[in-house]
Symmetry: C2
């Protein structure tokens, strides 16, 4: 089965999408939204170390790509809720697997790094 698009091609629009998706923060944000709508500062508090600017940019891109919706409730203070779109939902399984692969295989990676560094330090 062939598609009109090919990530191996330069200038293919899929490259832009891959660039956004293959991003540490985007992966964590999508993973966090898997269980339902979440507010801006809730995401910010739970994804430790993310800055406001980066979170804002990441969400804006995901919204533009149709993966996330942004809903503003005129409460006081204003409430802004982010949620996955159906399109975004088709991605969560993959993204979640990527985000948590590291948790499952961290020991193996650390061991490999130690071996590599020891060999390199000859």
């Amino acid at each position: 089965m062939r598609y009109r698009y090919d990530v191996y091609e330069d200038r293919c629009p899929t490259r832009m999408v891959l660039d956004r998706l293959a991003d540490k923060w985007a992966v964590l944000v999508l993973d966090r939204l898997e269980d339902g709508p979440v507010r801006f500062n809730a995401i910010r508090r739970e994804i430790k170390g993310i800055s406001q600017k980066v979170l804002s940019q990441t969400l804006k891109r995901l919204e533009r790509d149709g993966l996330v919706t942004r809903t503003v409730y005129p409460t006081v203070p204003v409430t802004v809720e982010y949620a996955l779109t159906p399109l975004g939902r088709t991605l969560t399984e993959t993204v979640s697997a990527l985000a948590h692969w590291a948790e499952h295989n961290m020991d193996a990676v650390l061991a490999a790094q130690a071996t590599y560094d020891a060999a390199g330090a000859r």
Copy 2:
């Protein structure tokens, strides 16, 4: 089920791993290696637009993390072959899904971007 590691934590070593894995070039390289060992310049030619420096860096990191092996054959000119390790192989399904999601959903993403940009241009 709980692990000692948590990608949501700052300073957790999994963050470093996620940072390497959630990278456009790393994803493409891992996807390319799925079918068996490939030589440096073969990867370079097939992943259009990747520079030698970036490919070299990406492979070095993947090797350090124990995902890829580097084998030098003393031919003339020298042949260097890269291949997935068993650990790397546990990742290919996920990475491949991510790399090709864009190909399958590109039209939906482009449509979402057009809508978003049209609304923003008010």
